[in-house]
Symmetry: C2
Subunit: 653 residues, 2 copies
């Protein structure tokens, strides 16, 4: 019958388990530094259930991660030489698995009976839910507690002797194990994303001291440079790169060769941060953050279109109700997560996933909705962190407008999520009422947009809430144009300094037909990092700074991450607004190509599609399109041209 | 200053962690058989907090179970040679501890700073609660994941050769490790509470097959007999008894020497089941059950008066809200647990413990109250088990009267628990209304008591609900006398066959001045087991059975536990109603001695008190009392005599 057995577990537990492992693995200055949130638990004692109906008796084997018991029609079974028997007819097979220290899971394999997504699971209450399973665990010898990364040896490209040790340069940032052989006497290892960091034996974020083994494999860490402080030189130093094998489909080249470099630097940055889940930064924070992940989800379909990492990341961030704190403790990140769930659906049309997480998403939304103030505004409750962005200019006294717009968008998404699941959900938040209130309290006609907050009386105008208003179509056309003119394109309004909100700003500009401005912004902002020698995108970049000051953040000389996923936005911008490839209905059943060369004289982009890719080329005033999927429409100069599968199509200006 | 450092953890997590370990350790027929309930999680990532105010700087060390980070005033600290420094003045010390596979805990020790019950702990939300700590973990080398049992070598008293192996008799039931040395070739070990069980290599509940080690220490199990099936005889076989060092204070002897034996058998049974928590039975179920524990709590103060095991057991059974299933899935057991919490307070006056668990108890009560039917009666919801007792005669169609009386008592206890905590709690259950409804639906004047249920129309009368009505003073005097006469003392009403409800029956009889009948019941029922050679009390005893049939239960030939805690009731009965020692206010601030020799011509009882003991002797019509605590009053023949500390006092009839 060719049934494919898979390891199965209680739905969502794999992601929570690996998320807890990941969060406990963080370190700083040689000390442990676990992520500072409450860790959700998993189900330690579960029962996997399968109704079987067989014409004849069959045999099967069981491999469990944990203590287990096999029951047929509630009768305990004993294996004979490792084999269980299932009689003909209709029977209920249950495998109970219990593991206190780990992830309970099971692998059942036989000719007619195998464990797969058709099974149900209970946590020993009367309720059964779907089992979880992910690609990559298909053999009885697989260990579900080990994440299936790939490994590859990497050698350093250059070494430099110093009075007390040696500096090794691996050419670019990487993540993996460092092997140091041949010293065998107390030595220290200091890692650096920059030369300065590796050589600063007091302040390097990652370090390991007092190593005495002759041959040592150090734990996984991020670095480009490694400084080994030792009296004796090492005999042999190399790294083992640990990575997820995600194949790039997306690419972008154009007449400005820096743009290609920006695309590649962005792609490499996203790859390093694409692991069990989307990390924010690979050196630090090494944490799954709702806002950072939201951007990675947007970039993903323009680089490698991988659904699995989005689902894993959403499950990791959702954790387990009842909720007692916001996602990463940040109000905005709870909203981004709810919005991400809807966006994932629109990207993939994967209603099955949405149904499986519906109760968690609803619980999260209700947690948010249960903490509003008397006006129905998001405010700061004990334990909350109103983040929005790293920007001192934000006026966070009282409710901040950006949070309200996110609540508005999350409310709309929650409504659509309920519809997708066929649930009749009545939200306690009325989106229309909320919109009215936002206008009443935050809209400033003279300023041409929204103020940060009303409580301080300062009427501060920052870009953030205005960017979000454009991003989510909160404003009408006239208001949007006013925001563009008086705020986004107004140099007197404090500039964004993180690639995070810079990416949102790019998207907001493009949605409002300012692709050229976005293109220039990429060349100056991302190009600026490139010119400073960056091999991956930074957590923050302020062109006004110079030298080592670029590496500092959080009051730490090397606190800034130099490989931060939220810097990879150009990939999405170039694919979505220059090549112009976008789904127009859920799961790309229909999609469009609306190229906008802007300031580029020519470009050639390849953009992934759910089941293939499309190449969009612009050269000498001509658009050439070749797609290996159907369903697309090319929009060019006011005309629409259906795109045939595998048929090259060209149209001139 | 002599500060005593203690290992500390998130309050309640130690008990839940060890409860999960215990529940996962169960086995049957050589297979794992974890307890079939949902296992509550613990807090994997916590922060221990202490406000310090010191005249001068001091140093301290930290030992953590898990990854940890020390912070002073939110600044990460590095140890120098293992020592941290705390400056003079007012500072906040936090130790963050994270452990994914285990119990996060910390031990801080210095001259001026030590970890103890004055610390607070958060699970990295903004809420801080009390830390947990128990006696027995006071050294940095202690491992909080290992329960501090005591160990003692025990040798078998007799061996018998069989054609395929050897039977070893250890003289009485014990629990511990078995050591088998000198075989070194495939052999099997079968354990038995009876000879028959050990020799039945198919049906012995505990067994281990195919052992090939030359020297082997088998995992902890319960047994009196061990049958080793092997071609070669063992060179050396012995056991290591694993136990909790609880010192018996209580004792009872009288002119009927069987009563002393019953007391001793009961005491030994309770001891074997007094472990991390109160177990029901030591062979099986090896599980913490709310109803069984409730009885152990009642017996405890008459044998060794140990508060710790009661607190541990309550915390284990409470687990973690939100509740999705009843305690052990059994409705009655949720009620017994709530009643136990109040009873513990009355026994100890330990309001601190009650306050610490208040939110959990309230959540459990509300879980129960949220599942009533339209009449406000307890009914069977999905996942519920209406247990009451092992008795086929029970009419469980629709709401059963016993459950309603338990709800009534739990409601009253919940109210008092809230009062103890100074909480203004409004229960959704009105105890007076409920009482009225119980009379309306279940009281049968003609039967002289309460029927099981009304739904079947059978109007079945069992003892259970009528016993509970007497036990909790549900009925008025006239009704109580009617219940005694027409139900409890009526041989036409089906007899109780478990020592469990037999114990409740004894208590109900005694509360209504029928001590003689209870004394005769002990001699016939418990004495019956004794005459059959029991060394510990059985889970069930039906005098009508004979031979091996006594060992069978649950459709298994040796399914019955021959060492079941709920059989230890005579200890409580003899201390509470024959010696007559009982608290009359919380924590024995006042207490009474109301001896009732009944059918005994003489007796000498020692009964524990919270801080000592009292000896009550009756001989030749004279009562002699000697107590090493004050506060007591002797009630004898209608007179009251204050009992002076350490002053012998006698009074004649």
């Amino acid at each position: 019958m060719g049934l494919k057995p898979k390891w199965i577990w209680y739905y969502g537990d794999y992601e929570i388990y690996h998320s807890n492992l990941l969060n406990s693995r963080r370190e700083a200055y040689g000390d442990d530094y676990p992520a500072f949130i409450s860790y959700p638990g998993i189900h330690m004692n579960v029962g996997f259930v399968r109704e079987c109906e067989l014409a004849e008796a069959t045999a099967f084997r069981v491999k469990a991660n944990g203590k287990y018991q096999v029951r047929i029609d509630n009768e305990p079974q004993r294996a004979v030489n490792g084999v269980y028997s299932m009689p003909a007819g209709k029977h209920e097979l249950i495998v109970y698995v219990c593991k206190i220290h780990g992830l309970p899971a099971v692998f059942v394999y036989g000719d007619k009976i195998v464990s797969d997504e058709t099974w149900k699971v209970s946590d020993r209450t009367w309720e059964c839910v779907s089992v979880g399973c992910v690609p990559g665990y298909t053999s009885p010898d697989d260990n579900v507690e080990v994440f299936p990364f790939c490994y590859e040896r990497v050698d350093y490209v250059c070494e430099t002797a110093y009075p007390n040790g040696t500096l090794y340069d691996f050419g670019k940032e990487l993540f993996g194990f460092l092997y140091v052989n041949g010293i065998g006497k107390d030595f220290d290892v200091y890692y650096g994303e920059s030369v300065e960091e590796a050589l600063d034996t007091e302040n390097a974020i990652l370090m390991e001291r007092n190593i005495s083994e002759k041959r040592v494999k150090l734990r996984q860490r991020a670095f480009r440079y490694v400084y080994i402080r030792s009296e004796v030189p090492a005999g042999d130093v190399y790294a083992e790169y640990e990575y997820l094998p995600l194949n790039d489909v997306g690419s972008f080249i154009c007449d400005d060769e820096n743009v290609e470099k920006i695309f590649e630097m962005s792609a490499y940055t996203l790859h390093l941060n694409s692991r069990e889940f989307y990390l924010d930064g690979i050196k630090r924070d090494r944490w799954v953050w709702g806002g950072d992940a939201y951007q990675s989800f947007m970039i993903n379909p323009y680089l490698y279109f991988d659904r699995e990492i989005i689902k894993r990341t959403i499950l990791s961030l959702l954790g387990t109700p009842p909720y007692r704190q916001h996602v990463n403790t940040i109000n905005d990140y709870s909203f981004y997560l709810i919005i991400s769930v809807y966006d994932y659906w629109f990207l993939t049309d994967d209603s099955d996933f949405i149904r499986k997480i519906y109760s968690k998403v609803k619980a999260l939304f209700e947690f948010c909705a249960g903490r509003l103030d008397k006006n129905g505004f998001v405010c700061e409750r004990p334990g909350d962190w109103i983040f929005i962005d790293w920007a001192d200019s934000l006026d966070k006294e009282g409710p901040h407008c950006a949070e309200q717009i996110l609540l508005w968008q999350a409310t709309r998404c929650m409504k659509k999520i309920a519809e997708i699941c066929g649930e009749n959900y009545k939200s306690s938040v009325d989106e229309n009422k909320l919109k009215e209130m936002i206008y009443t309290y935050f809209y400033d006609k003279q300023a041409g947009g929204f103020i940060d907050g009303f409580q301080s009386g300062q009427r501060v105008v920052n870009r953030h809430q205005n960017i979000l208003a454009l991003l989510y179509d909160f404003t009408n056309e006239e208001e949007s144009n006013l925001i563009l003119e008086k705020i986004l394109l107004n140099d007197e309004i404090t500039q964004i300094t993180t690639p995070y909100f810079k990416f949102f700003e790019l998207m907001a500009l493009c949605k409002n037909n300012r692709v050229e401005i976005a293109q220039r912004s990429i060349s100056s902002y991302w190009g600026g990092m490139l010119r400073l020698g960056a091999t991956s995108v930074w957590e923050e970049y302020n062109p006004a700074m110079s030298g080592k000051a670029h590496y500092a953040m959080y009051n730490e000389p090397y606190g800034k991450s130099l490989c931060h996923a939220w810097g990879s936005g150009p990939i999405c911008f170039l694919g979505k607004y220059v090549a112009g490839v976008r789904p127009t209905s859920a799961g790309y059943r229909t999609w469009e190509i609306c190229p906008n060369p802007g300031i580029y004289k020519s470009f050639c982009a390849t953009v992934p599609l759910p089941e293939g890719k499309v190449r969009v080329e612009y050269t000498q005033g001509k658009i050439n399109v070749l797609s290996d999927c159907g369903g697309g429409v090319l929009c060019w100069k006011g005309e629409q041209y259906p795109v045939q599968k595998n048929v090259p199509f060209s149209v001139s200006e």
